[in-house]
């Protein structure tokens, strides 16, 4: 089971959204990290075969996905960014509607819908209209619809957006359980989510993969670039302007800064253990 893409490129006029990216994904959880505009959503849409690449191809088990058509969509589950829904439908009706579109037999669909609503903690709200749902509840419905056809490939564009911490942990655990022999690709801005469940991380910047590897491998790249130093509180703002500050906390009239820098930022700075967030900030600190 393999989802691969080769020199995948997407141009919008003169702007290059995705620039010749290639990868081969096998079962496991993949985290796609990148700042806004890095090309994550464009890449995911091309992987879902809903956006035609300018050049390059996507393969599912060595077959080109556009040529596979419905056969590929049968193995695919997708949660788009800013997931759209029909406010007048109840959660159960919405899932039944998507199940119908996915060609799932009615009896199977009803069983799946009940199970997914239960898994997502939405069974009690199954008969309530989506317009009454909170952002987190809607997002859970979105995830449930992506899982309806028990997909081999699950592509989730910012699935944790709008979820509270408890819901995020729940979703992370669910995806970790679900992955097993499936391919799960998720994009997020929340680095800790990727850190917690991703077997592999792909970091995108300006339409290209700038890093890829396991979390420990990537974290190691940030080692030696994370420093902690204590400065007078009034100097904290100046430090934020001239360096990438990952964290700032006040202790009395002093400020403790966590700074990302290639070289020791000051003589009294001490090195600390790096995290994925540090790595992210190392690459995207200026954009953020």
């Amino acid at each position: 089971m393999e989802l691969s893409f080769d020199r995948l490129t997407k141009h919008y006029g003169s702007r290059i959204a995705v620039d010749r990216v290639s990868a081969s994904l096998t079962p496991g959880v993949y985290g796609l990290l990148g700042a806004n505009g890095a090309g994550k959503t464009t890449l995911m849409r091309m992987l879902c075969a809903i956006l035609e690449p300018t050049s390059g191809e996507v393969f599912w088990d060595r077959q080109e996905v556009t040529a596979m058509g419905a056969a590929y969509r049968n193995v695919l589950g997708y949660l788009p960014q800013d997931f759209g829904y029909y406010p007048g439908y109840t959660a159960a009706e919405f899932l039944a509607y998507i199940a119908m579109l996915k060609g799932i037999p009615r009896e199977t669909a009803q069983r799946c819908i009940r199970e997914l609503l239960e898994t997502m903690g939405l069974l009690g709200a199954a008969r309530k209209k989506l317009r009454t749902f909170s952002g987190g509840m809607k997002q859970r419905v979105g995830i449930a619809q992506a899982l309806l056809n028990d997909p081999r490939v699950l592509i989730l564009d910012e699935p944790t957006a709008g979820l509270d911490p408890k819901e995020r942990v729940h979703l992370r655990n669910l995806l970790a359980d679900y992955a097993g022999d499936r391919i799960v690709l998720l994009s997020t801005h929340i680095v800790s989510d990727v850190e917690a469940i991703a077997d592999q991380v792909l970091v995108m910047k300006n339409g290209r993969f700038i890093l890829r590897g396991t979390v420990p491998e990537l974290v190691r790249r940030a080692e030696g670039r994370v420093w902690e130093l204590t400065v007078p509180a009034e100097q904290a703002r100046a430090w934020e302007k001239r360096a990438t500050v990952a964290n700032l906390r006040h202790e009395g009239d002093r400020a403790v800064l966590r700074v990302i820098a290639d070289e020791r930022p000051s003589d009294d700075a001490v090195p600390c253990r790096a995290t994925m967030e540090d790595l992210y900030l190392y690459h995207f600190g200026q954009e953020a």
Partner: protein, 407 residues
């Protein structure tokens, strides 16, 4: 079928749809039907306190008017016509306003003006007085011969007397049964001349509001990316949307028709259903009675609505914006009506074949279409072509939406 049911349910679940349907029902059935019969259309005249000048007594007044008309024996002979005008003059002389109001003076005066123009006295002072109030009733003879002459003059003036067109129209008129059956006509005049022709116009507005987001709304809701990853769902969904849109048009029509007929039965009853339409439009040539005309006008509205739904669905599939879909949908029905006055007659007539652009009231007219050397009475094309246009639009809507989804 299941997808159609869900799509259909989704459509009816929208608050905007329910509000629109409610407003449409209120306007057409309550305001244009019940209140029109009971109050400002057929209520008795003379209430100075009412903005409409009518009293809230339509049902009673209708029954009295029907009873008054029934006294003339049910057939419009010369004698009956003379008696009707004579009675009117007596009521006028006696100053019996209530009886005058029920005497169909507008109708009688119209007949007099068309058939007996030589009896009009033009030197009756500053204020024109209805002919019906002063003509010598003994001179009101040869009603049907005079009608034939008036029709001939009319068709001559329209260039429709000779040739195949004249043959068609005269042939139709020859099938009109004489003497005309006669009962009280004002109710039918209101129904067939005003209320039913307006149904299509009002439906067009609400169908545009309700159906224009059918496809364009998926972009607005941001559901398109989701739908595209379903197993061929975008095609089946497009079909379900088209079917539910067409079904909705039929349902909206059904709602208005059932309400309209119910109001009609409560207020007008069935009295006079077998009168020829010539009793309300003297120079009409169609051999139709009131019931047939009503069926035609309802069929015109239904088929026009279904056809228009097809056009709106296509426009919705062509654009990604709800607002643009709405504006183009409204332009498709009201645009030709606005532009018609600036266009050649041939183009005007062609535009009338677009769904809900023409009028169901064409059954009262002598318009024809000349196609492949054959003359066809316009109502037959006005009832068939719009629905065909709409149905032809639907495959393009499905294809266009499917293609656009992948762009």
């Amino acid at each position: 079928m299941g997808l159609f049911a869900l799509e259909h349910k989704k459509l009816w679940r929208k608050t905007s749809v329910r509000v629109s349907v409610g407003l449409c029902f209120i306007y057409v059935v309550i305001f244009g039907g019940a209140l029109n019969y009971q109050w400002f259309g057929l209520g008795s005249e003379g209430d100075a306190t009412s903005a409409f000048g009518n009293r809230f007594d339509g049902r009673t007044e209708i029954r009295a008017s029907q009873a008054q008309a029934a006294r003339y024996g049910g057939l419009l002979t010369d004698e009956a016509f003379q008696q009707m005008v004579s009675d009117l003059q007596q009521y006028d002389a006696a100053g019996v306003e209530s009886l005058l109001g029920r005497s169909e003076r507008t109708l009688l005066n119209g007949w007099l003006g068309q058939l007996y123009p030589e009896l009009e006295e033009r030197d009756r002072g500053l204020y024109s007085i209805l002919m019906a109030y002063y003509v010598d009733t003994s001179r009101l003879t040869d009603f049907y011969a005079r009608r034939d002459a008036a029709l001939e003059d009319f068709l001559h003036s329209q260039g429709q007397w000779t040739g195949a067109e004249g043959e068609l129209l005269r042939g139709m008129d020859a099938r009109v049964e004489e003497p005309f059956r006669y009962r009280w006509t004002s109710g039918w005049q209101l129904l067939l001349g005003n209320m039913l022709p307006d149904v299509g116009v009002v439906m067009a507005l609400f169908l545009a509001i309700i159906l224009s987001p059918a496809f364009a709304g998926e972009w607005h809701n941001n559901t398109a990316p989701l739908l595209l990853t379903t197993d061929g769902g975008w095609q089946r969904l497009a079909l379900a949307k088209v079917l539910s849109g067409l079904a909705f048009a039929a349902e909206l029509f059904g709602l208005l028709a059932v309400g309209g007929v119910a109001a009609q039965l409560v207020w007008l009853g069935t009295d006079g259903w077998d009168m020829p339409i010539q009793t309300i439009k003297l120079l009409a040539v169609a051999p139709m009675n009131m019931l047939q005309a009503e069926v035609y006008e309802y069929a015109f509205a239904l088929l026009g609505a279904v056809g228009y739904a097809g056009v709106v669905l296509l426009l919705s599939a062509l654009v990604k914006s709800n607002v643009l879909a709405l504006l183009t949908s409204l332009a498709a029905v009201y645009g030709p009506a606005v532009a018609a006055q600036y266009l050649p007659v041939g183009v005007q007539k062609a535009l009338e074949l677009l769904p809900l652009v023409g009028s169901g009231a064409d059954i009262f007219r002598t318009n024809t279409f000349h196609i492949f050397g054959k003359y066809i009475w316009s109502p037959w094309l006005l009832i068939t072509v719009p629905v065909l246009i709409g149905l032809l639009c639907t495959p393009f809507a499905i294809m266009r939406w499917s293609r656009r989804q992948r762009a």
